[in-house]
Subunit: 138 residues, 2 copies
DNA sequence: CAAAAATAGCAACATTGTTGCAAATAATTG
DNA sequence: CAATTATTTGCAACAATGTTGCTATTTTTG
């Protein structure tokens, strides 16, 4: 039950109310969360600054990862256990559903190999698909 | 020489100073531009609102396209001629260079086919690679 | 060139993100 | 377990980014 505490402890983060609530929210949520979702959904009223800082340290520690967006609405989602401090390995595809507006991590869909011309060095690749998710497409 | 006027006319946009200057800037620039780049680089001082609206209508008309980002710094880049009003077909990969910080369209690198599980409907796929560009990687 | 249509600029505001600092909370150590 | 130390929080103030309504100006059209 104190899974949450463990996650924080394992990542060398002090266990505070704010971090517990925000991590809780991620664990309870299917799909990604934007800063504003957290501001509204985290139960109590945390200062916006606290949320920014919490999200930053979660990303740094590899607890969550950032999902890029084309409309200034960056989202965050839980990392699977392959992620560790400073090294994100979430090589899955993201889907933004145009019906329910949720952003989902399609863990089973792996980012394909892309062939770049010689001369480039590629560190990582982000894939974001726009479409309709399983639930909404039925 | 009035290539610019033609582009605007062909897209049924009035030919105004702002639009000409901004389009000029895109034509003169290798790589993508952020709103702030335009605010600084467009020569004269355009109202920020004008720039927002110009970018919106250029996107709508298929003159430029949006490149998603993971750090709230959306960039815009010229579309090739396959794009038309309401239909973007820029299925190329984008590269964000960690050295020169430029965002480039790699027109020769096509977005690969991604296999999604049944049940999803996919409209389009965005691929953004982080790495080092040809120029900086030598 | 005049009338109609479209666009630009301004003002005011909303949202998002950052920084420094003092107070509160959590971890550590004896 | 209490006291010290380290960390984190909330606040305030600010900066940057994005939006909307309205009027004046510019562009287009006939």
């Amino acid at each position: 039950m104190s899974n949450i505490q463990n996650i924080l402890r394992n990542n060398k983060l002090s266990v505070t109310e704010g971090r517990k609530k925000i991590l809780q929210l991620f664990l309870n949520t299917e799909g990604a969360l934007a800063h504003s979702d957290i501001e509204m959904g985290a139960g109590e009223n945390f200062d916006r600054v606290t949320i920014y800082r919490t999200l930053h340290s979660f990303v740094e520690k590899g607890i969550i990862h950032v999902i890029p967006s084309a409309d200034n609405s960056i989202k965050y989602a839980l990392c699977k256990d392959e992620c560790s401090e400073g090294h994100h390995h979430d090589h899955h595809v993201h889907l933004v559903c145009s019906v329910c507006q949720k952003t989902l991590c399609l863990d089973e869909v792996v980012v394909p190999v892309v062939n770049f011309p010689t001369g480039y060095y590629i560190e990582n690749i982000e894939v974001v698909a726009n479409g309709i998710c399983k639930q909404c497409n039925s």
